[in-house]
Symmetry: C2
Subunit: 325 residues, 2 copies
Amino acid sequence: MFVIDGLQYCNWSEKVFRQMREGGVDAVHVTIAYHEMFREMVANVEQWNRWFEQFPELIFQGFTGDDVRRARAEGRTAIFFGFQNPSPIEDDIGLVEICHRLGARFMQLTYNNQSLLATGCYEEDDTGLTRMGRTVVTEMNRVGLVVDMSHSSERSTLEAIEFSSRPIAITHANPTFWHPARRNKSDTVLKALAETNGMLGFSLYPHHLRDKSDCSLQSFCEMIARTADMMGVERLGIGSDLCQDQPDSVVEWMRVGRWTKDIDYGEGSASQSGFPPMPDWFQDNRHFPALAEGLKDQGFSAGEIEGIMGDNWLAFFDASFGKAD
Amino acid sequence: MFVIDGLQYCNWSEKVFRQMREGGVDAVHVTIAYHEMFREMVANVEQWNRWFEQFPELIFQGFTGDDVRRARAEGRTAIFFGFQNPSPIEDDIGLVEICHRLGARFMQLTYNNQSLLATGCYEEDDTGLTRMGRTVVTEMNRVGLVVDMSHSSERSTLEAIEFSSRPIAITHANPTFWHPARRNKSDTVLKALAETNGMLGFSLYPHHLRDKSDCSLQSFCEMIARTADMMGVERLGIGSDLCQDQPDSVVEWMRVGRWTKDIDYGEGSASQSGFPPMPDWFQDNRHFPALAEGLKDQGFSAGEIEGIMGDNWLAFFDASFGKAD
């Protein structure tokens, strides 16, 4: 069984990398851009290169599914880059291939707001994929950069699923049938995603959870079981959205970037503006084994649990990160 | 026998790519930056990506020596990127690894002028490697980005040869003993280069040739024979500096960039400010076989000719483009 996390954005440190190893996490898709333009994103890659050089016994950069197998064989964690916003490609389609060369493997077409490509989940009107959105999805399909619609709105997400010639991902979100948050996804979206062999990564970010920080492991795993009935278990993975050790200033950067001078609370509120506490059964990377236990209690078979914990992501990585045939 | 050109900067077109195939050229190191900053260099990579997509039957991007072998097997030409100036890394050592990831395999520490790293061959005073120059050479050694001192001055070149832990290259220049141009290299430099297993690529740019555009093939090959006596034949290759089809505005960009508002004629003069005509026996990529014939007439053995035409470069590529052991 491989253990793969479909999204994290921690305040990275040796401590966090060591916890990945303690939790037996073979691969993590890490966010390296929220609102960063190209050159700023490159500076974040440079910072990661520094960590790869400093902690070679713990982490290395992953580019392909085989790097996850190598990580397992070598007792390290493969780090895969992704963007939560298409800001790093600016208005330049040629940057799609450049970013892929640098290792980007997931890119959200929108982060909450309207982008050059599609509509985010906090906009009032959803215009679907833009003209540039369609050309960029085609280019992403060509080079092997996965379309991620975690923060996108309904119509844009459905159009991306339909327009993309390769399966897409929703790396970190939950079904609205379980918890009707703005960031969670409708049955319509989840069914369309499953029909096109896309992947859903279940989020552990409290705003995406029923009962938020008080959500129980049992409730979370019941949700997974119901979603498996709807989508098929092969379409499911984890995308914890772990934002460990981040100061509240970072949640403000995530929500506000440079697009407004006002404050926007996103999924939070004026009284709860910071990062909400994680459920006690998923505090950090060391808790992945507990998640597998929770799935077992739901009656999932060993093979199904292996799929959800990472093997499904690995099959998706294998199929998605190379050039189109 | 592999045919490898150690430097070209043509006005790239399908015509030029087809001439590479006609000349049996397996690999070319192409300049993608003279004075470009990082983001501008990336735009040049994007343009190359467009050509790779448009002409996949003629060219593809090379990253390793094995890509030269693949080029030969597939009847295509492998294109390797390089910079004539360290401007693409700006003042940021982290960009060395980023540029290497994008495919840069050679970087000159200076282009004629003083840079952040070393002194160019047109400066009056040569201070050798700067503080940043030393750290950047160490980083280039680590990632597998070859130090190229073609346009550097004497002391800086000698210091780079000595300081670099891996062999360096002078991709396009000739010995001053044959033609005492400012861009050509002294016996001292050539001997130090050879002693450290560095490579010299012989230039066909007329300003580097005895009798300039009227230089004979025989004279050129006699020079190679004399240099082989001094350096050993394994240290020699071709670096044609072919600038085919470029308008004169490009030679001005090469010489002047944005560093002055005045005109600088470099190796030319007010009366001969443009590109000089190439010798009639080396007009373009189709003339590589003639070069091999000229070497034969000098009495080089078949194995020596194979080395000079490309096999020596290939051995150097194999040893130089990967991470340091």
